[in-house]
Amino acid sequence: MSGYNYESFGQCDIDAPDFWSVATIGTKAPDFCLTDLDGNLVSLSSFAGKKHVMLEFGSIT
């Protein structure tokens, strides 16, 4: 299987040019609503006016 959840590293679109054209400096960050490991829903917008938010993307491998 290729696509987003690629099966082999060689199918990875690591050099995709998207990174510098999305979520650019000085613009509104894309909102999200994701679950944490306790099953709670967490949205970026819920921190508006309250906290600065740091996101680090990653995986096991």
Binding site: Y4, G26, D36, G49, H52, M54, E56, F57, G58, S59
Partner: protein, 175 residues
């Protein structure tokens, strides 16, 4: 992802200054026998718990992206990227590869702006800075991650890049 201890250290330092850190669990960057590519959201959730346990991530909450990687895509699809978003929801920093030392600097800068605003220090302007950065190759970390994933992950890397970012057993034996 990058190593968890430096991020945890930073989080301890900045959480009292109203910073919230998250790790966003995305797709497996180097799928192998032990940690294959995702085939369901349920499996992805299990992998995210495994990441927490393997890296002993106890303080920074892990958020799990959906199966299609909607949030990962919205932020640019790279495997180890870092973002800092201020409390107005504006992207103030983005990096194509996590660097805790650099992140420390930008968090400190944002905390300083809060202090300036609180003490009514006038701000001349909101500027932009750009820079190149160089991430040192850490062969020990790379080997640990690929071996953890399995032989397939190592083979795939070799096929894609032509050489491994660490010495193979045969090369080590020659030394």
């Amino acid at each position: 992802m990058g190593e968890a201890p430096p991020l945890t250290k930073l989080y301890r330092e900045y959480r009292t200054a109203n910073f919230q850190f998250f790790i966003v669990y995305a797709r497996e960057a180097h799928p192998g026998e032990n940690y294959p590519h995702h085939i369901s959201l349920e499996q992805k959730l299990v992998h995210a718990c495994t990441l927490r346990d393997l890296e002993q991530i106890q303080e920074i909450p892990i958020l799990v992206d959906d199966f299609a990687g909607t949030t990962h895509r919205a932020y640019g699809l790279l495997p180890n990227m870092t973002y800092l978003i201020d409390r107005d929801g504006i992207v103030v920093y983005k990096s194509d590869w996590g660097d805790a030392q650099e992140l420390d600097g930008v968090c400190a800068s944002l905390a300083r702006v809060d202090e300036m605003k609180a003490s009514r220090v006038p701000i001349i302007r909101q500027g932009i800075s750009q820079r190149l950065h160089w991430i040192p190759m850490d062969p020990v970390q790379r080997e640990r991650v690929y071996r953890r994933s399995g032989e397939k992950a190592i083979r795939d890397y070799l096929n894609a890049r032509g050489s491994l970012p660490y010495a193979t057993d045969a090369e080590k034996a020659k030394r």
